[in-house]
């Protein structure tokens, strides 16, 4: 088991420009079951062994994908997400960075109506090691195992996962949920799925300054999650009011500082690591030192 994706998940790739094409190849090599590509004007061609269609609707009719990953440039990405959802994708993973927040706010309403889950935007995607990866995560650092990881960041996720893997703690599924102010699924949504996943024994949540998603997650954990959860929050050294790369990472009020989050999580009974090494220690303690 794992959450959201496994080796059978039928995947469609939207946007086969330089990046999309490169990552489609990477995904395919990792073992992801890519059934179709979508790129207006490239319909009828074959890229990396999968058929390409002009529209998501065409791709859906011919190849019945369950999931779509979006590499379409920001000005067209919201439309592409809707195209995937309206074509029946149950899960959309939006890698694209720079989608206007109001557009996201609009489309999440429609996605809810359609029952489509969204990971991202501005996210590295997700991976169920040894099964499937959807997005741009570097497959090599992951290893199959009992730890669920959900993070707002990209490279930081890799850093965390790498140290977990080196210490022998493999992952069930790892997700970068995206750093924008409005993203699809949040910690809660992933935590709920991890709770029901037999393979996952513990979840690491990696958070940062800005918003109050981590607090929401902690409240949710306290109320609904029986599995152990370990937290890590970056941005303690960030000055207030500044945007640290992630659009989401603006400190807008007292609640959104790293300190406030750390205190809140600990208050809800979630151990919080000060450094990446400490994450591994905390995980090790909770998994009984097994590795």
């Amino acid at each position: 088991m794992s959450i959201l994706i496994d080796e059978n998940t039928r995947v469609m790739v939207q946007g086969l420009g330089r990046d999309g094409s490169f990552h489609a190849k990477q995904m395919k090599e990792y073992g992801t079951n890519i059934v179709a590509g979508v790129h207006p004007g490239k319909g009828g061609s074959i890229i990396h062994g999968f058929p390409v269609f002009n529209t998501a609707k065409d791709a859906a009719r011919e190849t019945d994908p369950e999931c779509s990953v979006i590499f379409v440039p920001a000005p067209f990405a919201a439309d592409a997400i809707l195209a995937a959802a309206n074509a029946g994708a149950a899960l959309v993973v939006a890698v694209t960075e720079g989608i206007p927040v109001l557009e996201m706010s609009k489309i999440v309403i429609e996605l809810n109506e359609l029952g489509t889950r969204l990971a991202g935007p501005n996210c590295p995607g997700l991976i169920s090691p040894a099964k499937s990866k959807i997005g741009i995560m570097p497959g090599g650092i992951f290893r199959k195992g009992p730890v669920g990881v959900v993070s707002r960041s990209g490279t930081l996720t890799y850093e965390v996962v790498n140290q977990l893997t080196l210490a022998g703690y493999g992952q069930s599924t790892a997700i970068g949920m995206g750093g924008d102010p409005v993203v699809g699924m949040k910690y809660d949504d992933y935590l709920e799925l991890f709770e029901d996943d037999k393979e996952t024994e513990l979840v690491v949540i990696v958070g940062e300054i800005g918003g109050t998603d981590e607090q929401d997650a902690a409240t949710f954990v306290k109320e609904r999650i029986s599995k152990p959860v370990v937290g890590y929050i970056v941005g303690r050294s960030a000055p207030p009011g500044k945007r640290m790369g992630h659009a989401g990472a603006i400190i807008s009020g007292a609640d959104s500082t790293a300190e406030a989050k750390v205190v809140f999580l600990r208050d809800k009974g979630i151990p919080v690591a000060d450094t990446v090494e400490q994450i591994v220690d905390l995980v090790g303690e909770r998994l009984g030192g097994r590795n």
């Binding site: 109001l102 570097p138 650092i141 990209g154 490279t155 970056v234 640290m244």
Partner: protein, 382 residues
């Protein structure tokens, strides 16, 4: 991107929101003639992207053009929360009967725009929210449908029992939404929304923060950018694909990825050092980018050591190493002592390339941070 008051008022005016008919000036002499044109008394207001201007002495009433001149002279050049005042807005002074608040921003949790309004305007709204939360009224806005008249009226009648004032306020709220939506703002705010003694309702202050992600839809708005010197540096960085924020410390950081960059700063601080900046070089590893990044770090005289922290994900470590070497060969100026940490995909190959160039790369982030702190402490001889 934050707009200054005079810019925000101009946009408000374009969306039909009543604002005072003021004039932006940059010299005391201009302030005097603006005061003559507008008719005194006037208010002379410092234009900076910071709150609390009044308390800081950045807002002054002037009864005559001469007084406006003097007020301008005293405010121009002032430092308000580390923003230097270079522009003033000269507005006609008005008789205020009541101060209210109305603003629209994105509620990240609801994933919706939300309008906030309060009869307690003219003060720090976050203080109102913290101390008397029941004095703030909220209206969720479905962004596909926009703020509707009946929703605006529901709020407006809570602020103004009088029909004429309520309908005027509701109309302003509708236009405020039009503005929020039309310019792709992440915040629009009127504080105070003032009731004047003649019963009219007017926006006496204006705040707009634009969504940087949406600037491609509004290219002309880019021209409204009035960066401070430190922002200029950040913007220049952005134009090279770098995300940069200058801080006060002495360890320059160069990291791929925002989250990892914050983690890097945190570990430096955790170990007793002080980061000089946030610098995310993103995914690609082109030598040009690394050169620009290095130049940014070098231009900060506080920097006594540089910590380059790269996690090779999709970007392979050997590529990053090659880029780094090319960059280091290119840079002519003296550079502070470097600590390079390189790990992830193809790390062995990357470390070998650096080693061939005479640089010993570390594999552990904490170790790297510790070494950078040590070097900075030595005072920066390489």
């Amino acid at each position: 991107m934050k707009l200054e008051e005079f810019q925000a008022k101009k946009l408000f005016g374009e969306y039909g929101i009543p604002v005072p008919d003021g004039i932006m000036v940059t010299t005391a002499e201009e302030a005097r003639s603006a005061a003559e044109k507008i008719e005194c008394p006037v208010v002379v207001k410092a234009q900076v992207q910071a709150g609390g201007r009044g308390k800081a002495g950045g807002v002054k009433l002037a009864g005559t053009p001469a007084e406006a001149y003097m007020a301008a002279e005293s405010i121009l050049g002032m430092d308000i929360k580390s923003f230097r005042v270079e522009r003033l807005l000269v507005d006609p002074a008005v008789s205020i009967a009541g101060e209210y608040y109305v603003g629209i921003t994105i509620d990240r949790r609801k994933k919706l725009p939300v309008m906030m309004a309060s009869a307690s305007g003219g003060v720090d709204i976050e203080k109102v929210a913290a101390e008397t939360p029941d004095q703030i009224f909220f209206q969720d806005i479905n962004p596909e449908r926009g703020l509707r008249s009946f929703e605006a009226r529901q709020i407006a009648f809570l602020l103004f029992p009088d029909k004429k004032k309520a309908l005027a306020a509701a109309s302003i709220m509708m236009k405020l939404w039009d503005c929020f939506h039309g310019v792709d703002a992440s915040l629009v705010e009127i504080n105070p929304l003032a009731e004047l003694e003649d019963g009219s309702i007017i926006a006496l202050d204006a705040k707009i923060v634009l969504d940087d992600n949406a600037m491609f839809k509004h290219p002309f708005m880019e021209e409204m950018r009035l960066p401070t010197p430190s922002e200029k540096k950040e913007l220049d960085a952005k134009s090279h694909g770098l995300s940069y924020v200058q801080l006060e410390g002495d360890i320059g950081c160069m990291v791929n990825g925002a989250g990892l960059a914050m983690a890097t700063m945190d570990i430096i601080k955790h170990l007793g050092g002080t980061p000089a900046n946030f610098l995310d070089i993103g995914g690609s590893s082109s030598p040009e980018k690394v050169i620009h990044a290095m130049e940014l770090l070098v231009s900060d005289s506080n920097v006594k050591a540089v910590f380059i922290n790269v996690f090779g994900g999709i970007t392979r470590c050997d590529d990053v190493a090659t880029g780094l070497v090319a960059a280091l060969q290119e840079i002519r100026t003296d550079i502070p002592p470097l600590v390079i940490r390189l790990t992830g995909t193809n790390e062995e190959e990357g470390i070998r390339i650096l080693s061939d160039f005479g640089i010993t790369a570390l594999k552990d982030m904490t170790e790297g941070a510790r070494e950078a702190i040590r070097l900075a402490g030595e005072g920066g001889c390489s």
